[in-house]
């Protein structure tokens, strides 16, 4: 079990918390829960309810979405220092993808209550958190667009469909 100081040092390396002052980080770190997953363990599945976001402290999570039967498309990976699950934290909708440990993983868990507490107690830090989060959202939106284009290209190449002449 890591100490609050160790957790704070780790959080400092994550883009969302770069603008946090040391005392703010320490206070925030002490409220995060730790969770470990063994390799292949599923954290949550697409469609599950959830109101927590997760920070990857060690290992890699694999993010996938059901395609057909037992086949899922790998959308992305969340390596150490990355985070995921924030969408359900805000929109309260079911999980949009399945998250599974590709290796043994250590996570830090931030739930909605702790996020609300951060907003109430430290609005400056919360604003910095949300600003960084918006930046990440934009990057992920762009990456999603690129993925859609790449998958479309795959389909056209694999089937030999000639769209230019249609």
């Amino acid at each position: 079990m890591a100490t609050a100081a160790e957790t704070a040092a780790f959080l400092k390396t994550i883009r969302l918390f770069r603008e946090f002052a040391e005392p703010e980080l320490l206070a925030f770190a002490s409220r995060l829960r730790e969770r470990t997953l063994r390799k292949s363990q599923v954290l949550f599945r697409e469609g599950d309810a959830g109101d927590e976001m997760f920070l990857v402290r060690r290992g890699t999570m694999i993010i996938s979405k059901a395609v057909t039967g037992r086949v899922e498309q790998v959308l992305d990976r969340a390596p150490a220092g990355d985070f995921f699950g924030e969408m359900s934290l805000f929109d309260r909708a079911p999980r949009s993808a399945t998250l599974q440990a590709e290796t043994d993983v250590e996570l830090l868990v931030l739930d909605r209550d702790n996020l609300n507490l951060l907003i109430e107690v430290n609005p400056r830090a919360a604003a910095a958190f949300f600003q960084a989060l918006v930046g990440v959202f934009i990057e992920r939106l762009r990456a999603s667009g690129n993925l859609v284009a790449e998958v479309t290209r795959w389909g056209l190449e694999a089937t030999g469909l000639d769209m230019e002449s249609r």
Binding site: E150, W154, D162
Partner: protein, 408 residues
Amino acid sequence: MTESAPPRPAKLELLVRGEDAESFELRQVSSAAAWLHMRPQRVPEGEFELAEVTSRVDRLPRFILKNTRTERYLMLTEPERFLWGLMDGRTSLQDLATAYVLRYGQFDFDVIPLLIRKLQRAQLLTLTPGSRLRRALARNRRRLILQMAEQALTALERINLASRRVHPVFDRLYRWGGFLLFTRLAALACVALAAAGIAAGVRLWHEADVVARGLGLHPIIALLAVKGLFVLTLALHQVVHGLALVHYGRRVREFGFTFLHGFVPTFYVDVTDIFMASRRARIVTAVSGTLVHLVLGALWFLLAVASPPGFLQAFAAASGMIQWQAFVIALYPFCFIEMDGYHVLVDALGVPTLKHDALAYVGSLLRGSPLVRWGAEARVFVFYVALSAVSVAAFVAFNVWMVIHATT
């Protein structure tokens, strides 16, 4: 002005979940691999008409293909009509390319994609993905044994260690002595070794009981060791194929290790560039690799004869036997296996899908509705299937007898 390089084939990364819903397997599928395994399927009989017209200018035959549903017409050249005839939903694009080369002796890299586009636009074609075996297994996942077979095949198929930057290595190997394999002297040495090997084999045969006892208390383990060592010599077989390519000035595109059909461990070399060379070059390339087994088998037999009765003699004799079996299987075309001898046969017959067509014909014959009328082609099909069935049965019986003989 320089042309920009074509984009790399797109890849999809898929996660295939196990039955326990937690275990999973990651697979990367490139669009190029998927495309090669596609099996174009022309529209059913009755939805198209084909008429031949001969040009009065160049006297070359042309074909008019009509989609009777959409009333669209296409003009096909003779090679395109040939490819159209093969688009039966069972022949993959890779097989189409091979058939084209065997028939016309050359390959135009654009002809198949352009024809497919033309046919798709005229709504005369659909594309069906992949292996029939895998589709059959997928349909029967409820049966535990088939589900396990599918999982095992999938796992083994994922293993593919290969490199596409091997041509310079083969080029160097050829210059540093590999060229000697393609000289008259090497051919003579091969014949001499084969003769000596046969003599040694006959001598060992007469002492088979004594030789077999040399395997000692654990004959099965010893035979498995012989098989393991043999798998390594398959690499040498493929290296010689590659050297033959260099000998004829062609390019070695890939060398690697995989599980053939998902369960046979094997090394392989991509020799498709030899299709650009002469028929003689194709035959030499096909045969040269198999000669590795002839030579190694002869050497093992000679070692066995020179050794005193005991484990070494038995091991050498078993190794020689398996090498010569491999030589026969690789070169003998009638065993349902598409190996070197089969490729020489289909090259000579000009029937690139012989095995597939022959099995389909015999199947239809047994069901009482033959696909083609009895004639020269049908006779070839029946001959191929009958001889292959007898050969496989004889091979299995011989091996069963040999194992029983060695272990009792």
